[in-house]
C-alpha cells in the first residue's frame, strides 16, 4: 500500500493507510473474477470507435497575444520574469 502511495506521490496517515488498504483490497479481490474469462480470442481495445492516428498541420492556430499569455499565467503560483518557477529538484 505504501509503495503504491509513494509511486502516486500521496502521503498517507496510519489511519488512512489502514482504511484505503481495506477498501482497495476488497475491490481488487472482487475484480479477480476477470481471470475466469477466456480472452485468448480477443485483442485489447484502447480506442472504441476504431480511429487510428488523426493528424493536423503543425501551425499556430490562435495568435498568442500578451493578453492570452497573461490569462494562462494568472493561474501559476510562482512566476519570475514571465517564466514559471519550480522548486529545486535536488536541493532542500
Amino acid at each position: 500500500m505504501l509503495d503504491v502511495a509513494q509511486l502516486a506521490r500521496i502521503e498517507l496517515s496510519d489511519a488512512e493507510e489502514e482504511k484505503f488498504a481495506g477498501q482497495l483490497s476488497a475491490v481488487l479481490e472482487n475484480f479477480e473474477l476477470l481471470n475466469e474469462v477466456d480472452t485468448s480470442n480477443a485483442e485489447p481495445t484502447a480506442q472504441v470507435t476504431g480511429l487510428t492516428n488523426v493528424f493536423r498541420d503543425d501551425k499556430i492556430q490562435n495568435v498568442n497575444d500578451e493578453k492570452t499569455r497573461d490569462e494562462f499565467l494568472a493561474n501559476v503560483p510562482e512566476i519570475e520574469n514571465g517564466a514559471i518557477k519550480v522548486p529545486g529538484v535536488f536541493n532542500d
Partner: protein, 491 residues
C-alpha cells in the same frame, strides 16, 4: 412569472419565437426559482446570474429583430463544473481546482454561447466526476429534489437535480460510466450518453479518456434532440470526435415505432434488482409493445464482468489523467502560501496529499497499482481484452435489435451517507450503466415511473454506434404516450 421556469426548451423556444415571452422574463423566472429552492437542493457551485442578465438582454434584442441564433437562443442552461468557462471558475468539485479560472471555453460551451444560450453557472458533481452520488464533491453533496434526504445520483447530480427542480431549462453533464444516466434516473429527467466521440471533449476535465462522453440532461426527449443538434459534431481540437455527417436529430421525433425490435438483456434483470424497479421497467416495455414495438429476451453474457473491466480501465486512465496536478502550473499549490518545501518532490506530495479527496486518492492508487510493472498484464491488459468481448457482444446484438432496454439503476435514489464509506458497494451500484461506455454506444435514461415511496425510476434505452436517432424515436414515442416525465417534485 414563476411558471416560465417549468417550461421545456421546446415550449420556451416557441414562446420566444412568437414574442409571447422575452429571454429576460424567462431568466427572471428561473432566477426566482433558484432563490426559492437552491437552499434545499444545493445544485450550484458557482452562479453567474449577472452575466446571464446581460446575455438575456442581448438575446431580447436578437428576437426583437428576428435575428435569433438557434432554438436555444435565450434558453438558460447550467453546466456541470467540469466544462472550462473562460473567466469563470471551473473546479471539478475538487479542492485542487478550487480557484482555477480557465483562459478559454470548452468547445461545447463555445457552441452553446454561439447559439445564444444563457449561462446560469456551474453545477455540482463528484470530485473529478468520480462517484455516483455527488457526495464526493469537495463542496458538499447536492440533494435529490424528490426527497432531499437522498442523493441526486452522480456524478452529474447537480445537473440532474437542477433540471428536475426547474433551476434551469436544461443542463450539460458528462458520462464515463453512467454519470448522466443514473442521476437522470434518480431525479426523473431525460439524459443522453452519446456515442463515444459524438460531442467534443476539448476543454472538459478528464476522468477516463477512452470512456468520457458529454451529453444533455433535459425535461423531455424533444429537448434532448434540440440540444444535440447544437453540441454534436467533429471538432479539430478533439481528434477522437466522429467525422460522419450527422442527421437532424429532431427528424426522429413524432415517429411511429411499429415493428421496432427491442432486446431485453436478461443479465440486467437478475439478482439485486429491486422488485419495484423491475415491475416499472417491465410495464414500460409493455407500453412500448402496445405502441407496436416487438420485444424479446436476449443475452449479453459478458455483462457479469463489466464492472471489474470498467473500473480497472477507468482507474488506470484516471491515475494517468490526474498526474498533471503537480502544484506548478495551475490549481492548488503549497507554493501559494509560501510553505517550506524540501524540493520538487515535496511539492508533488504536499499538493496531492492536501488537495485530492478520498475517491480521487483511491482512484490514483488503484490505477497506479493496476498499471505498475508486474501487474499491468494481469489487470489492465486483461481488462482491455474483456472490453473487446463486450464491444463485440453489443455489435452483434444490434445486428438483430434496434435498441436494448434495461433499468438504469437496480434501485432508486439511496440515502445521503448510506454508501459513502463503502466504495465497493458504490461501484457495484453502477452495474447497469458501466458496460455501455467500454462498448462506446449511446444510451438514454427516460423517466419510467415511481416507486410506492414516490422515488423516480428510469428506463435505459441503448442504441447502436451513432444510433442516437433510434433511441430518440423509441423514447419520444414513449413520452408521447406517458406522463412520467411531466411530473414535478414538491419543494
Amino acid at each position: 412569472m414563476i411558471d416560465l421556469a417549468k417550461l421545456t426548451v421546446n415550449e420556451a423556444s416557441k414562446k420566444l419565437d412568437a414574442g409571447e415571452i422575452t429571454s429576460s422574463e424567462l431568466l427572471e423566472s428561473v432566477i426566482e426559482r433558484i432563490e426559492n429552492v437552491e437552499p434545499k437542493v444545493k445544485a450550484y457551485i458557482t452562479q453567474t446570474l449577472e452575466t446571464a442578465k446581460e446575455q438575456a438582454k442581448k438575446s431580447d434584442e436578437r428576437y426583437k429583430k428576428g435575428l435569433q441564433l438557434s432554438e436555444v437562443d435565450g434558453i438558460p442552461v447550467a453546466l456541470k463544473d467540469v466544462f472550462c468557462t473562460k473567466g469563470v471558475k471551473t473546479t471539478a468539485a475538487s479542492k485542487i481546482l478550487e480557484d482555477f479560472v480557465p483562459a478559454y471555453n470548452a468547445t461545447v460551451v463555445e457552441k452553446l454561447e454561439k447559439a445564444g444560450a444563457i449561462m446560469l453557472g456551474k453545477v455540482n458533481t463528484d470530485e473529478f466526476t468520480m462517484g455516483s452520488s455527488t457526495e464526493n464533491s469537495a463542496f458538499g453533496p447536492s440533494h435529490n429534489p424528490w426527497d432531499t434526504s437522498r442523493v441526486p445520483g452522480g456524478s452529474s447530480g447537480g445537473s440532474a437535480a437542477a433540471v428536475s427542480a426547474d433551476e434551469c431549462l436544461f443542463a450539460l453533464g458528462t458520462d464515463t460510466g453512467g454519470s448522466i444516466r443514473q442521476p437522470s434516473s434518480f431525479c426523473s429527467v431525460t439524459g443522453l450518453k452519446v456515442t463515444y466521440g459524438l460531442v467534443s471533449r476539448n476543454g472538459v476535465v478528464s476522468y477516463a479518456s477512452s470512456f468520457d462522453t458529454i451529453g444533455p440532461i433535459a425535461k423531455s426527449v424533444a429537448d434532448v434532440a434540440i440540444i444535440l443538434n447544437v453540441i454534436a459534431g467533429n471538432d479539430p481540437m478533439d481528434s477522437t470526435t466522429v467525422s460522419e455527417k450527422l442527421p437532424d436529430y429532431k427528424s426522429f421525433l413524432g415517429k411511429d415505432i411499429k415493428g421496432k425490435k427491442i432486446g431485453i438483456p436478461k443479465e440486467f434483470y437478475g439478482q439485486g434488482l429491486d422488485p419495484e424497479v423491475d415491475k416499472i421497467i417491465k410495464s414500460a416495455i409493455e407500453k412500448l409493445k402496445s405502441l407496436g414495438a416487438e420485444a424479446e429476451e436476449m443475452s449479453l453474457p459478458s455483462t457479469d464482468y463489466a464492472i471489474a473491466m470498467y473500473y480497472i480501465i477507468a482507474k488506470s486512465e484516471a491515475s494517468s489523467n490526474l498526474a498533471r496536478y503537480d502544484g506548478i502550473r495551475y490549481g492548488y499549490s503549497p507554493l501559494k502560501n509560501k510553505s517550506h518545501l524540501k524540493g520538487l518532490i515535496d511539492l508533488y506530495f504536499k499538493t496531492r496529499t492536501e488537495a485530492f479527496g478520498n475517491e480521487a486518492k483511491r482512484s490514483i492508487m488503484m490505477g497506479t497499482h493496476t498499471l505498475s510493472s508486474g501487474y499491468l498484464d494481469a489487470y489492465y491488459k486483461t481488462a482491455s481484452k474483456v472490453r473487446t468481448l463486450i464491444k463485440r457482444e453489443y455489435q452483434k446484438a444490434f445486428e438483430k435489435y434496434d435498441v436494448l432496454i434495461t433499468p438504469v439503476s437496480p434501485f432508486p435514489a439511496f440515502k445521503i451517507g448510506e454508501k459513502l464509506e463503502d466504495p465497493l458497494s458504490m461501484y457495484l451500484a453502477d452495474v447497469n450503466t458501466v458496460p455501455i461506455n467500454p462498448a462506446g454506444v449511446p444510451a438514454m435514461s427516460v423517466p419510467a415511473g415511481f416507486t410506492s415511496a414516490g422515488l423516480p425510476v428510469g428506463m435505459q434505452i441503448i442504441g447502436p454506434h451513432l444510433g442516437e436517432g433510434k433511441i430518440i424515436e423509441i423514447a419520444d414515442a414513449f413520452q408521447r404516450a406517458t406522463d412520467h416525465h411531466l411530473k414535478k417534485p414538491e419543494l
